[in-house]
Amino acid sequence: MSSQLVVPYLGMKSSKGGEYLSSIAVAGLCSVIAVLLRNHLARENFVIIYMFAVMAVSIRYSRGPALVHAILAVASFHFFFVPPFDSFRMEDPTYVVTLFGILAVALVTTKLTMKIRNQAAEALQREEQTKELYRLREEAEMEVQKERTRNSLLSAVSHDLKTPLASIYGAATSLLEEEERLNAAERRDLSQSICAEAERLNRILTNLLEMTRLESGRKLTRGWYPLEEVVGAALTRLERSLRGRPIRTDIPPDLRLVWVDDVLLEQVFINLLENIVKYTPAGTPIGIAAWENDGWIEVAIEDRGPGFANGEEAHVFDKFFRGKVAGVRGVGLGLAICKAIIERHEGTIRAANGRSGGACIQFTLPVGGIPPEFHEASENTV
């Protein structure tokens, strides 16, 4: 792997055989230039030319071709520049030093180049390893984050689960142990408490389950729905807790169908309405309005309660956020789920205080194009 990585790094493109050929060619070229210039330049200059060639080849090519080139260069220098010229005989033995000098330059340069190449390769490999380690660490961190979410979900909720459970257990044991001393009204009171607390437990579990499923990428079951129907289902389900509250719905009959998972969208309305029931005085009105805006359906739910405290609007959709209102119980998942659901539908949700001073939650829903046509006989009234 390392040699493959090093090749492009040092600009070496040719194959091994190619390298040998090139190194021989350079030696030849060098010799030709030297012979052409032999009568115009001092001999010392040619030592420099040969040295340059040797260094260049040693840097560029691997050890074998570099050595071949060095030997050829030495031979060429010997042949053309060591007197007597154009022969391999040697009159002055001090030229041996020059010849060995050229060879030594080749060897040292090759050695240094190899070292640099190896270091580069190592650096590259280290970089790869660091990247891999980094990736693994990121994965591990994500895993930890997920685990933390799960744990925080669990720990936040375990308290909220235990509270209704404590009421149920307490009421049930009272019924069992004090059976004879309790009058009918007291027994009924305890039973009602068991009932209400069980309902609360069910709501918490439903939200918890929904959150977990949304976070693990639950698939939506989408269809085209009249918004009115989904709102109606939520209002019907919450009939009991909404009793006594004037509810004004302003949904145009010709509003385009929304392209949604109706069970999840119903959950959005249920959570928003339950929030209103929790945070606003009994009997205060609720307004639900919808209109089309730029290819999206806008929905707004407004109450006449105290509204969001300053700066709270930005955090109401955070998990485990609870409004600072005394006596209100909840896990703080309701609005977080609304946000998760709306965002899974490619919509957006935001919180603000309405004109009347109450809280207003507004979100967008997709229309998802035009629903398929249904072919049927022409319509007549009966």
């Binding site: 009932c195 069980a198 069910n202 439903t206 389950l209 929904e210 499923r213 079951t221 269809g223 085209w224 729905y225 009249p226 009115e228 129907e229 989904v230 709102v231 109606g232 289902a233 209002l235 019907t236 009939e239 509810i247 719905t249 949904i251 009959p253 169908l257 109706d262 069970v263 119903e266 639900i288 629903p371 398929p372 249904f374 049927e376 006989a377 319509e379 007549n380 009234t381 009966v382």
Partner: protein, 233 residues
């Protein structure tokens, strides 16, 4: 809600959880139902060979898929009503159960009153066969099939042909859940998944003509993720 069950109907409860069987035993006993119990699908199927008046079936039995149990019961017995017990979040399971031949469902956790209401409806169906000529009344709505007349508070309401057909199907199955695909099949005679929104559009139109407040329907109620129910109780 507390109206007793004069004919001592027999209920076969197929449910593996002992505590659920326990409170059903008490509650159904108090309502004068005779009770048979099965804790597994195999035992339930065996007991169902001697048909009770109604079967209450838990969809999450350990030894067999709930849908399989329904299909096996329906192979031999088309008549005995089946009410399935299921959890929230499994709307698709409920639809499949209804398509496989279940008559209705109750979502766990449920109030006993809800189960009693479902039992009354499916048992009522066995007693009185509503004839084509029976005038149907619920609250201020009256439907006279013979004269094709629909009135709200005595005032005649004009429905389109499709709206009327849809209403008649709902009336024939009053108080029982009808899935989108069952309604498509019965009203339009074809069942194409991608056309379920037609049912919803016509249902919305019906509500606007029949309900005092179409966003808080009293009669034509939605079962989210499943379909509709025309309530009379």
């Amino acid at each position: 809600m507390t109206e007793k069950n004069p004919t001592m109907h027999e209920v076969l409860v197929i449910e593996d959880d002992p505590e659920i069987r326990r409170f059903l035993r008490t509650a159904l006993g108090a309502e004068q139902y005779r009770l048979r119990e099965a804790t597994t699908a195999a035992e339930g199927l065996h007991q169902a060979t001697l048909p009770p008046d109604v079967i209450v079936l838990d969809l999450g039995l350990p030894d067999m898929d709930g849908l399989e149990v329904i299909r096996k019961i329906r192979e031999k017995n088309k008549r005995t009503p089946i009410i399935v017990l299921s959890v929230r979040g499994s709307e698709e399971d409920k639809i499949h159960a209804l398509d496989a031949g279940a008559d209705d469902f109750v979502t766990k956790p449920f109030a006993v009153g809800e189960l009693f209401a479902r039992l009354r409806v499916v048992l009522r169906r066995g007693l009185e066969v509503p004839s084509e000529a029976t005038v149907f009344r619920t609250g201020d709505i009256e439907v006279d099939p013979l004269r094709h007349r629909v009135t709200v508070n005595g005032k005649e309401v004009h429905l389109t042909r499709t709206e009327y057909k849809l209403l008649i199907v709902m009336v024939r199955h009053a108080d029982r859940v009808l899935t989108h695909s069952q309604l498509l099949q019965e009203v339009w005679g074809e069942n194409q998944e991608d056309q379920a929104h037609y049912v919803r559009v016509y249902m919305a139109q019906l509500r606007r003509k029949l309900e005092a407040d179409p966003t808080r329907p009293k009669y034509l109620q939605t079962e989210p993720g499943i379909g509709y129910r025309l309530t009379t109780e």
